[in-house]
Assembly symmetry: C2
Homo-oligomer: 356 residues x 2
Amino acid sequence: MANTYAIIMAGGAGTRFWPASRARRPKQLLDLTDSGRPMVADTVHRLLPEIPYERIFIVTQQVTADAIAEALPELPTENILAEPVGRNTAPCIGWGAVHVQKRDPEGVMAVMPADHLVQNLQGFRRKLRLAFQAAKSGALVMFGVRPRGPETGFGYVETAAQVSPGVREVVRFVEKPDLATAKTYVASRNYDWNSGMFFFRADRILDEIQHQMPDLWRGLDEIAGAIGTNEMETVKRVYPKLPSQSIDYGIMEHARERLCVPVNFGWFDMGSWGATYDLAKKDDAQNACRTETFSHESKGCYTQTDNPKKIIALVNVKDLVIVDTGDALLVCDRNKTQNVKEIVKTLETKNRAELL
Amino acid sequence: MANTYAIIMAGGAGTRFWPASRARRPKQLLDLTDSGRPMVADTVHRLLPEIPYERIFIVTQQVTADAIAEALPELPTENILAEPVGRNTAPCIGWGAVHVQKRDPEGVMAVMPADHLVQNLQGFRRKLRLAFQAAKSGALVMFGVRPRGPETGFGYVETAAQVSPGVREVVRFVEKPDLATAKTYVASRNYDWNSGMFFFRADRILDEIQHQMPDLWRGLDEIAGAIGTNEMETVKRVYPKLPSQSIDYGIMEHARERLCVPVNFGWFDMGSWGATYDLAKKDDAQNACRTETFSHESKGCYTQTDNPKKIIALVNVKDLVIVDTGDALLVCDRNKTQNVKEIVKTLETKNRAELL
């Protein structure tokens, strides 16, 4: 379709991937999946056969805009939208939407987080076309990932009757459940994981924003008027005053005409080092070593250093994540990798900006 | 006493302290006890009030001789005896003895490993004087460390009646025991740990060598004749042919007139990273951090890096030894630190000389 666009959300800090991820090099700029490219570039390449560079926007932070431009030299630099401050996903998507609408009043946009992994690209593109098709007529569409288990780390979406082949009506969004609840969701087969990937016409989402988040809409309207003249100046003035809200809470929960395309194309949210380990190639002892590692009676470990001449030695240890950089070394229980953010918080408290 | 000498044995490789210890920087050149000096310098300073620099010899390997000279600028360089190959302790002590005898036919020598820690220096020096006194009359004297527990990592010495205050007769030497045997030793109160520290007149030990290890004696006799002329040339030719044997097995086990001075001055054999942890200062969570460390729900860990600007972060881990260098990182179970040598063996097998 000639009027399809993509908004890639690349604004996260990814503190759970410290010390590899830093303020100036957040996780979307890392190659966490061994693809040979940063995750944000993977996200773009996943879309390319369907959407050309000139119709792909990346919303990111000012501090990382240059690095993203470098990682994606073929992307027009004017398609990189640099937020002066992070305001969660609703303002980010809204800013993208005003650009899409400016280019094409009938434009339909895919919204994609920059830190997801998709294994089956063919399947992804098939569902992408289906979702665009559904969104074209005005629905707010999302990808719902068919659960692989009673995961408690994701929000869920409850769906109802199929409205057309592969497309279902959304009943409601639910927050991250406890394990017992997650099990009932999975057993019922009516719940999918909320992937955070959305599809809608730009005019349609702006209309929802106007009704549900009028403060945001006024800010976006001001920015829209400045596109092509003093946009960045306006953004710098307006953005800090925008409400910080997610598209899920701010819009989707109470929107009309919501549809879900259930998908099963090998989707992974790279949320922490544990996910990186899960997806990495393992040796016979279930060690996943991205750096040269010598091991003695050790198993279930993940190793990585950014010094290509360095080796790592493991002696009688198990289930550890070891990530080494020039100025910081992390050693973490592999089943507790979400706690890495606690170290980042401590470093923030102690004003150790050089390590963040 | 004016005729006391010391032979410091600094020839070990210390593979269990890899990756901090390397072929060119073995453990005796490391500051493993946080004293601010390498262990070999600690060993010298422990003796200095009793024995001046000019009467202290250090036997080491050629590859480390320069580093030792650098660490001890006041030690006469001719007192550093550089072995072309390691031949265990009997040849090392024998070579020292011929030097002592050359300087003073009645010289009495203390033999000290370079990698031991002594906490109570006053007590050490008191026992040193006592041992020299006992050795002066011709006995082969050793320090026997009063056991702090049924340790299975040391050899033991059985003693009999006291022959003079603080000096006992040696009954026999026994090898590293199993735990049950070690317990009976400790309960009997007649056994001490074999400290590896010995005291004897130079002529007396050379006489024992002549009778018990005639091949070694002939080699030493040849070297003795070359002192002051072409000694190093002779050593290079003779040394590789000398038998590789410890002083314990080769001489002490079957020698006559053996005495033991039981000691209790806070003696520690720095045998592996576990010992370093045991001796290091701990925080409330029993972590011993020689480098800046941020920890979240972690305990019993030892951390060290040779990069003063680097931090280490621990997340939900316990009882680990973490040693970081520029080209290698070790992560090891703190109770299995003796297995670090297995990594060194693997690196040797794989011809990774740059890491050894």
